[in-house]
Structure formats: structure tokens, C-alpha cells
């Protein structure tokens, strides 16, 4: 069912099950992801999207199965992975500047006891420039807007100079301009053969943004290139009887009938 990947997969998940209090949140997930793609994880609330990326990075105990990155166990390749957590997961009143937060991305490379050097500051500043935040380097993080907080997190992830990036809803609560800037950056990263895996909510933009999609609802519904995988049938299987979301699906079906309308104007939700 899943198309074969000829080169070494960036990520291989085999028979992965995660359970909280014996209640499975993810059940028997089997997938392989190619390198150098922008990959979206979609599914309804509670489908286990965030759990999938946390479990993949070894932040949660697995009930069964294993994960391999670049054909190696995760602990051997820690410095090749990067993580952008949900924005609400930290306390933004923490006494730190934007620069302090971005420098945290360098900590993994530095290792124990070593101090931050000028070279690390240069990398951090360069990453801030990429996300358009260099003017805010010394700004206290509590004074940032939601979009600026998200871009700070993104700069921190970039500062890790990793090969595979896991992002938990990077577009939540950011304005349209920031979303466009971020997606441009992610596409540039995949062109440089980085693999970017994004938990995503907005079904309207899936076809524009992602090369691959993972469709998830506790079980894996489908995983593959967007044009062959993001189909009406898979969407119905993923979202099932969720009424509010069926209207979104209806929207997408309608747009499929009128392909010339795509991209002209994005409906306001």
C-alpha cells in the first residue's frame, strides 16, 4: 500500500504502540519517510499527532515497536534531530531574551560543561536573521507576540543545524504573513535535503504545503505523497463521523471539481 522508498529512509517507525493507562493513543504504526521532504501529520483532535512525534523522539515510553532514524537508533543520532514544541508548552515570562532562547539550540552540540562561544552566537544570530527576528535579539521573551514567539522557537530549532525537524503545530496562533514566511523557510530547508515533519490542523492548505502526508487517527490511515494519498476516501476514513470537519471535507471535494479556483483566494475560516 505504501510506495517503496529506494534510498535509506530518514525515519522508520515499526509496529509502534503508545498507551496511557493501558488505553492506546497510537496503535500499531508502521511507516517510512523519505529524506528531503516536507511532511504533514494530519488527523482529528486526539488522533495522537503530537504523541507520534514525541514517541518518535523517545520522549514517551513505547508500549511496543521501535524507531530508527537514518537506519540508526535514536540515541545515536540525537544531534541530527530538532524539535519545535507547542508554543504554550513553556512559560514566556521566563527571564530570558530571544538570543538566550535561540542559543539553547546550541546546547546539544556543546555538551556538558562547555560554555557558549562566539561561534555559537554567530550561528544563533544568523538563524534569527533567517526568521526575520534579528532586530529582536535582545528583546525580553515576554514582550513577543504569538507569531514572534513561534519564529523564536523556529530559530532555536535552526540553530541546532539538524537533519530532521519535528514541529508541533508551528502555525497555531500565527498570522497569515508569518505562516507564509515560515512555510517558505521550511520549503527552502527541504531543498537543502532536510526532512521536516509538521503536525498540522488546517486541511485547506495541505495540498499547497506538503510533499507527503501522514493521515492519522490512533491507527495509521495512510502515508505517502500528497497527490496520491490526500484523497477523499482517506479523509473520510481519517475524520470519520466528526461533523464539524465533514464540512471541511465537503469543501475540499468541491474544490476538486473546480481545480482552477485553487490558490486564487483562501476562504476565510
Amino acid at each position: 500500500m505504501q510506495p517503496e522508498i529506494t534510498t535509506t529512509p530518514a525515519l522508520e517507525v515499526h509496529d509502534l504502540t503508545v498507551a496511557f493507562d493501558r488505553k492506546p493513543v497510537l496503535w500499531n504504526i508502521d511507516l517510512k519517510l523519505p529524506a528531503g521532504k516536507l511532511i504533514g501529520i494530519i488527523g482529528p483532535n486526539g488522533a495522537g499527532k503530537s504523541t507520534l512525534i514525541k514517541a518518535t523522539m523517545g520522549l514517551l515510553p513505547l508500549s511496543s515497536g521501535y524507531v530508527r532514524l537514518y537506519d540508526q537508533p535514536i540515541d545515536n543520532v540525537r544531534n541530527r534531530i530538532s524539535y519545535v514544541p507547542q508554543r504554550e508548552s513553556v512559560d514566556w515570562d521566563f527571564p530570558a531574551s530571544v538570543m538566550d532562547v535561540v542559543l539553547m539550540g546550541r546546547y546539544g552540540k556543546l555538551g556538558l560543561f562547555r560554555r557558549v562561544r562566539q561561534a555559537d552566537r554567530d550561528v544563533a544570530l544568523d538563524c534569527l536573521r533567517k526568521v526575520g527576528m534579528e532586530a529582536y535579539a535582545n528583546r525580553q521573551i515576554s514582550q513577543l507576540s504569538g507569531g514572534q514567539q513561534q519564529r523564536t522557537f523556529l530559530a532555536r530549532a535552526l540553530a541546532q543545524q539538524a537533519d530532521i525537524y519535528f514541529m508541533d503545530e508551528p502555525f497555531a496562533g500565527v498570522d497569515a504573513a508569518t505562516e507564509k514566511a515560515i512555510i517558505g523557510l521550511l520549503q527552502a530547508m527541504t531543498e537543502a535535503q532536510k526532512t521536516v515533519i509538521v503536525v498540522h490542523h488546517d486541511l485547506q492548505s495541505v495540498t499547497h504545503y506538503f510533499d507527503w502526508v501522514i493521515m492519522l487517527n490512533t491507527r495509521l490511515v495512510a502515508c505517502g505523497p500528497t497527490e496520491t494519498t490526500f484523497t477523499q476516501q482517506n479523509l473520510q476514513e481519517t475524520y470519520g463521523g466528526k461533523l464539524t470537519l465533514l464540512s471541511d471535507v465537503g469543501d475540499l471535494i468541491r474544490r476538486e471539481n473546480f481545480p482552477n479556483r485553487e490558490g486564487v483566494s483562501k476562504p476565510v475560516l
Binding site: R78, N79, Y83, P85, S89, D91, A96, S142
Partner: protein, 295 residues
């Protein structure tokens, strides 16, 4: 000379507690210090009963073990029994403290300890317990040496583990993704809090330890937006309350620990009102001037 010994000991306690307190309040775990300082009581009693001596090292070891057990129990109740953190802290330390009280009352005749001495301590007795050389030379108070060692250990711990402590405090999930174990650094920090609390409260009492763990750090939090500056300010605040508290106690002829804890509260109130960044007064001034300029 006695004045200097007392002020120096109090300052060392205040600085050690203040440094650790900065991490505790940013981790929203300020009450863990409170919990540990009470929960170590059974550890001290058991260490005394087993070894039969009131030697500081034995006490420190027994109490540190119980301190670690306390943090472990709090984590366990929070993670496994799905109890809120504050509730698990409350259940754990009251229970352990009660065991200590029962043990003391059971062996009251054999233990030269009581709840009052544990809770309130008496910093004024610091100069009475001197280290003497066999020839009778006075090296200074024992508490001063113990607190000096603890303070140096804390400073080294924070200097060498600065990055890891900062990151696991700000964003534990990200730290784990980098391969920096949030759990490991949590227990290391809690171990440091246990050791400091235990070493301090022998000389200054549990309530002053709690006041110094939270007060100076909370004051520093209100005065700056930079974590390193916050650590330094917490130490400065600690030294200030130790000196002013001591002289107020002498002037009033009252409890030194009480006066120091009182000064901690006063300093915090001043910071709350007059801090240039978070102070209520400046916020009020700023909103008024905004209104004026927009009108």
C-alpha cells in the same frame, strides 16, 4: 566577632538558598523547599537513633536521603497517582514530618531534639559551637564551615551545570529531545536543595530556610529580565536581609531568624512596589503617562 560569625553564616545560608530558589520558583516548585525542610525530620531522628551521635555529617546523610525520598514521592504521586503537584507536596511532607514528630515523642528521653529546635532553630548559638584544635586554638564556628562548603558546592554545581539547569527549567521537553535528561537534572537539583536545606536548618531553623529559599529569589525575579542577573540579585538580596535582619534583632532584642525572615518579606514588598520593570508604582506611572500622551 560573634556578630560577624552570625551575619556571615546567615549570609552563606541566604546565598545558597537564594541561588537554588531561583530555579525552584521558575520551575513552579517553590513549595518543594518547604516540603523538604519539614520532611527531613524523620531522617534526622533515624540517623541519630542508628548512629547515636549528633554529629553533623551523620545527620546530613540521613536527612539528605529522606530529602531525596521526599522529592521522589512527590514525583511519584504526581506522575503515577495523577495528583496535582501542590496536593502531592502537601500529602508527602505533612506525613513525613508527622512520622518525625511521633519518633521524637517515642524516644523523647534519648533524643536531644524537639520540634521547636527543628522549626525555629537558633542562629544566635552559632558562635557557641566552635571547632577547636587539639591544642585549644579556635578555628571558628562549625556552622560557618559547613555552610561555606555547601555554598561553594552550590556555586560550582550551578557554574558547571548552568546550560543544563537553565534548559531543563525553561523547556524540559526540548532538553530531552537534545538528549539532556530532564529527570536526571531534576533529581540533581533536588539533591542540592535537600543538602542545603538540611545543612542550613540545623543552624537557622526550617522556617527561615523556607523564607530564604523563596524570598530573595522572588525579589530578584521582580527586578530583572535576565536569568544570570537574577541569580546575582538573589545573593545580594540574601546578604542584605541577613545584615539588616541581624541588627534589627539586636536593636529589638528579639529573634534573629524572625527578623531576617521579616526583612525578606519587607524587601520583597519594596521590590514589588518600586521595581523598574515589574513594579506596581512604575506600571501605574506608565499607564498614567500613556493616558496623558494619548489624550
Amino acid at each position: 566577632m560573634n556578630d560577624l560569625y552570625i551575619i556571615l553564616t546567615a549570609s552563606l545560608v541566604a546565598c545558597s538558598c537564594g541561588l537554588l530558589g531561583c530555579f525552584l520558583i521558575l520551575r513552579k516548585m517553590a513549595m518543594v523547599g518547604d516540603a523538604i525542610s519539614h520532611a527531613v525530620l524523620p531522617g534526622i531522628v533515624i540517623a541519630f537513633l542508628v548512629s547515636g551521635s549528633r554529629d553533623s555529617v551523620t545527620m546530613l546523610a540521613g536527612a539528605s536521603l529522606i530529602g531525596m525520598l521526599t522529592t521522589f514521592l512527590i514525583e511519584f504521586l504526581h506522575k503515577k497517582a495523577r495528583l496535582q503537584t501542590d496536593a502531592s507536596i502537601g500529602v508527602t511532607f505533612t506525613c513525613l514530618f508527622a512520622i518525625g514528630v511521633v519518633l521524637i515523642s517515642l524516644f523523647a528521653g534519648k533524643v536531644d531534639l524537639d520540634q521547636d529546635c527543628v522549626l525555629y532553630g537558633e542562629i544566635a548559638y552559632v558562635p557557641l559551637d566552635m571547632i577547636l584544635s587539639p591544642t585549644g586554638l579556635i578555628f571558628g564556628p562549625r556552622a560557618l564551615y559547613i555552610m561555606g562548603a555547601i555554598f561553594i558546592a552550590i556555586v560550582l554545581f550551578i557554574t558547571f551545570g548552568y546550560k543544563e539547569l537553565l534548559l531543563t527549567t525553561f523547556d524540559p521537553a526540548f532538553a530531552s529531545a537534545l538528549g539532556i535528561s530532564a529527570t536526571f537534572w531534576h533529581y540533581l537539583l533536588m539533591g542540592a536543595v535537600s543538602a542545603t536545606t538540611v545543612a542550613s536548618f540545623e543552624s537557622v531553623g526550617a522556617i527561615l530556610v523556607v523564607a530564604l529559599l523563596i524570598g530573595p529569589a522572588a525579589t530578584a525575579y521582580l527586578l530583572t529580565d535576565n536569568f544570570l542577573v537574577m541569580l546575582i540579585l538573589a545573593c545580594v538580596a540574601g546578604v542584605l536581609v541577613s545584615i539588616s535582619g541581624y541588627y534589627i534583632a539586636v536593636w529589638l532584642d528579639g529573634s534573629i531568624a524572625g527578623a531576617i525572615a521579616g526583612m525578606t518579606g519587607l524587601l520583597f514588598t519594596l521590590a514589588m512596589l518600586f521595581s523598574p520593570t515589574h513594579g506596581l508604582l512604575f506600571k501605574k506611572l506608565r499607564t498614567t503617562s500613556d493616558e496623558v500622551s494619548s489624550a
